[in-house]
Amino acid sequence: MTTVRKPARREVSLATRESLYGYGFILLWVIGFCVFTALPLAQTFLYSLNTVSVTATSINLDFVEWANYSRALFTDPNFIELLIGFSVETLVSVPIVLIFAMIVAMFLNLKFRFKGLFRVIFFLPIVITSGPVIRELTEQGAASAPGIANNPAVIAFLEELPRALRSPVEYLLTSFVLILWFSGVQIMIYLAGLQKIDRSVYDAAAIDGASGWETFWKIVLPSLSTVTVVNAIYTIIILSHFSENKVIRYIYDQTYNVQGGIGYASAMSFIYFGVMVVILAVICFALLRWARRSSR
């Protein structure tokens, strides 16, 4: 009854078996990726090269080459403005979120009374960061650094600044608190990174006479370098996918606009995606270089 297999063949079949089971486990995801990501992405790209009109029963494409892209980049007065605004805001926000999250995480890593209470409060943004709620908060004026942005001295100071520097500073003042609302998960990730540092390293540094300041720059910061890269990527993506983001709102409005339409909105989506990837690459490149240098 039993068939005796040759050992060699059996070994091959084991490896094949393993990879077959592996594929089996990820099969659902692969199908999903094709149906819900790859295919729609390709279709959106196709739309971006066409003027698209949708009727109740069909979708009509009219090939226009790169016209949608050139319109977005060279003709549309709003889009480029919004895109620049988004880039500036992201480049300002990411360092603030990272520094703030790192500081809060270091606080939470200390031992003190009522720590549980503070932890619960500091992680509130994880549950509350949703589009409509944040919009309500902004409308109440709860998002700006209290009173600073309306101070006449500050306004006068802003007017003295060169134009290129003015909008980031203005954004910083008006949205500082809003930026802090985006740091919940990052605090958590930093805290995990801090807790991975071995206590004995601190003790050794203390015995060698290192001050807290030196310990931070020589031990804590280098150990947090990989976590920082993760946090930076996360922050950029969350900020750029946020549904109240002005660029996203504009693209969404254009989708249903008679003058815009699906083709134009698709082209803008791809330009936006490109800008986002560039920002991601710039920040990651800078951080990775720093990480490599500091871990040496």
């Binding site: 393993e18 089971y21 592996g22 594929y23 990820i26 659902l28 995801w29 999903g32 990726f33 149906v35 819900f36 990501t37 729609p40 279709q43 959106t44 739309y47 979708i59 809060v104 606080f107 003190f112 503070f118 932890r119 619960v120 409060i121 500091f122 992680f123 509130l124 943004p125 994880i126 549950v127 589009g131 409509p132 709620v133 919009r135 309500e136 908060l137 109440q140 998002a143 608190v177 802090l180 958590m188 995990a192 990174g193 203390a206 990989t226 993506i237 996918h241 549904s243 996203i248 693209i251 969404y252 989708t255 909105a265 698709s266 989506s269 791809f270 936006y272 995606f273 986002m276 991601l280």
Partner: protein, 313 residues
């Protein structure tokens, strides 16, 4: 002068004020608490502000003397916000729309994470790259064809429009959960699974009887984060569900409109017009279920990273 500073009493005073190797000084402790309270205030202030204003009656709202302490508890705003939001229905819709895809998402992403962590096969690196890509690609780059596809299948406005992607591992921020499960399963010892395999258990059986029970914390963390994110998601829900299902955040974004419909401007007196207090009651009712969930499950939120061991390397 120097002698006074070296005096033991002075040393002790300095130790108490500025701390020494053994413990922190008072100065540091005061600064620490001041900063902690300041940061805590940043997060609590909007919530407090919202809550206080939501219980002010119209005369308190107009009275500039009444800032933080209303003269009386007024529930009228909540009554109206409750009716405008159509609270019981939208609440149930929100719960359904966030819980069901989250459950499915947690299960499917755990399958994928297990496959990636436990099996060797070609193209694994590619899968990781694609996984990261699904996280990076903005939703508006894929949403229009998806919407048109759903339209053809007559699924617009049907909860299936959110459930189907979750079932195929493409739910909201799925990539994060796959990575959480990958980390979890990679760090679990293999011994049990290997001995089960020697006893002749099939791979699926091993997954369900050994891997799943040992990854329960990862399941819980994934499920609650996924629920929160689905709850707060408005971009996709508006596009896919508009006209079929109305969730709380969706109703909140059209709050003013809904208010007009329920209380037409001509028919109500000035005190019943839409004011800030009613809007804030609406916002508060919107985040209330999340707050309740957060305080009940806070231990899972606050310690989730430790529980799943994810740090993202």
């Amino acid at each position: 002068m120097m002698n006074i500073l070296r005096h033991p009493a002075a040393e002790r005073a300095r130790g108490i004020l500025f701390g020494n190797r053994a413990h922190r000084g008072i100065t540091f402790t005061i600064v620490l608490y001041a900063l902690l309270i300041a940061i805590g205030f940043v997060y609590l202030q909007p919530l407090l502000f919202m809550f206080i204003n939501s219980i002010k009656d119209p005369s308190d709202l107009l009275n500039p003397m009444v800032q933080w302490v209303p003269t009386q508890l007024y529930a009228g705003n909540y009554e109206r916000a409750y009716r405008v939001l159509d609270y019981p229905n939208t609440l149930m819709a929100s719960i359904f729309i966030s819980v069901v895809p989250s459950l499915i998402q947690a299960f499917v992403t755990s399958l994928v994470g297990y496959g990636l962590a436990r099996y060797q096969f070609r193209g694994k690196r590619l899968i990781f790259v694609l996984l990261l890509a699904t996280f990076i690609i903005p939703p508006q780059n894929t949403v229009i064809p998806q919407m048109l596809m759903y339209r053809d299948l007559n699924l617009l406005g049907n909860p299936l429009a959110l459930i189907l992607p979750a079932l195929l591992g493409q739910g909201y921020r799925s990539a994060i959960f796959v990575l959480i499960f990958y980390q979890t399963f990679v760090s679990l010892p293999k011994v049990l699974e290997e001995s089960a395999r020697l006893d002749g258990a099939t791979d699926l059986r091993i997954f369900f009887t050994i891997a799943v029970p040992s990854a329960i914390p990862a399941y819980i963390v994934s499920f609650i984060f996924s629920t929160v994110w689905y709850w707060n998601e408005t971009f996709l829900t508006v596009i896919f569900l508009e006209g079929g299902v109305t969730t709380l955040p969706m109703q909140l974004s059209s709050f003013a409109q809904a208010y007009e419909n329920l209380y037409p401007a001509g028919t109500v007196n000035i005190f019943e017009r839409l004011n800030e207090a009613v809007k804030m009651s609406g916002t508060f009712l919107n985040i209330l279920p999340l707050l309740v969930m957060y305080f009940v499950l806070q231990h899972w939120f606050v310690e989730s990273v430790e529980m799943t061991g994810i740090t993202g390397e």
